[in-house]
């Protein structure tokens, strides 16, 4: 047991030394931007967004985001498939105190509004669809933890999730029709809608981030719901 631990520490030290040696070749503070410079110089006129990160994630490298959304969808479906049983219910024993339940009820709409604020302003402020969606899912998690009988409308959530995923692909397909390739930013490139820096700008970034936010929120809430339920013996 002791020998095993010492060997493990020794191995990790060797790996860490190798990694440190490899990283020491890269000087800090040096100008290493090749593609990054292009993004920073062209982000405003090419995408209409101020937040370069969301512009890169949604516009320049949109396929990556589509892949991430797919990964989340598979995770949610996988959890549902692993925990699938006929009769499953919440089996929480103790009701939360009055302070907790009232506080959660009061905070729920504020957290929802804040989550929506994050994903609607993805092209202007830090954030975007994934943090916004996760924030909204936190609101549902809060309700789940504060009440023993709370349950999200399951059917509706799954339908919303699927519809949101489909609309993302649909926005990309409209780009394919108008511009000639998948995920072409038709709102900004052909319409030039809005002024840079205002809420209505950024091409299809706010549209896609609203879709992603709704999708992530419903997905994570679904995972929470699945994991909190237990099998009931008849």
């Amino acid at each position: 047991m002791m020998l095993k631990r010492i060997l493990a520490i020794f191995m990790i030290l060797i790996i860490g030394f190798w990694l440190a040696k490899g990283l020491s070749g890269i000087p800090f503070g040096a100008d290493k931007m090749l593609v990054g410079k292009y993004y920073l110089e062209h982000v405003k006129d090419q995408t209409g967004a101020i937040n370069a990160v969301t512009a890169v994630v949604v516009n320049y490298r949109g396929f990556d985001t589509l892949g991430e959304v797919t990964v989340l969808f598979i995770a949610s479906t996988g959890v549902a498939a692993l925990l699938w049983r006929k009769r499953r219910e919440r089996t929480a024993k103790m009701e939360g105190s009055v302070v907790l339940t009232t506080g959660s009820k009061l905070l729920f709409p504020f957290i929802m509004i804040f989550g929506m604020y994050i994903f609607i302003h993805g092209h202007l402020t830090p954030g975007g669809g994934f943090p916004g969606g996760a924030t909204i899912a936190t609101a549902f998690l809060l309700m789940y933890l504060a009440f023993i009988v709370y349950e999200i409308p399951h059917k509706g959530f799954e339908v919303t999730e699927g519809l949101a995923g489909m609309s993302y692909v649909l926005v990309g397909l409209i780009g394919l029709v108008i511009g000639g390739y998948f995920l072409f930013d038709w709102i900004w490139q052909t319409w030039k809608l809005g002024t840079i820096g205002k809420l209505i700008s950024g091409g299809f970034i706010p549209v896609i981030y609203t879709i992603i936010g709704i999708k992530v929120a419903t997905e994570l809430s679904g995972i929470v719901d699945n994991m909190l339920k237990e099998e009931v013996k008849e």
């Binding site: 103790m94 302070v99 907790l100 506080g103 959660s104 905070l107």
Partner: protein, 120 residues
């Protein structure tokens, strides 16, 4: 340097002193409940004063008023959530049977719970 900058700097200093006092309390206090007391009360006050102080400071330095608005929103959110989380933590600690400090003299909640059990 304007008046707002001065007030902001003072508030930030005030808040950080309260942060220090409350971390000191975390080390010095004997049991969970006393520690929660220092960790919530003084940290909430310290955070409020630091956060609003930063907002005032930024406005005094000539940044936009948006700083102050955002800090006030964050402060109100913290003011509402911190006591609730502390309440839930302490209640959870009591329900899972963590004992009070041996120097404590009164446990009315235990008497209340026992009285309730006797009724049933």
């Amino acid at each position: 340097m304007s008046v707002l900058t001065g007030i902001g700097e003072f508030l930030v200093l005030f808040g950080t002193v309260f942060y220090f006092i409350s971390t000191l309390g975390l080390i010095r206090m004997p049991d969970v409940y006393n520690r929660m007391q220092t960790a919530t009360k003084s940290v909430t006050l310290g955070s409020l004063s630091t956060i609003i102080g930063v907002g005032l400071w930024a406005v005094g330095e000539g940044f936009s008023i948006a700083w102050l608005t955002k800090t006030i929103v964050i402060a109100v959110f913290l003011l509402l959530t911190n006591p609730i989380s502390a309440h839930a933590l302490i209640r959870g600690a009591y329900k899972s049977g963590i004992p009070l400090w041996e120097g404590s003299v009164v446990d009315k909640y235990k008497e209340h719970l026992e009285g309730k059990e006797g009724e049933e």
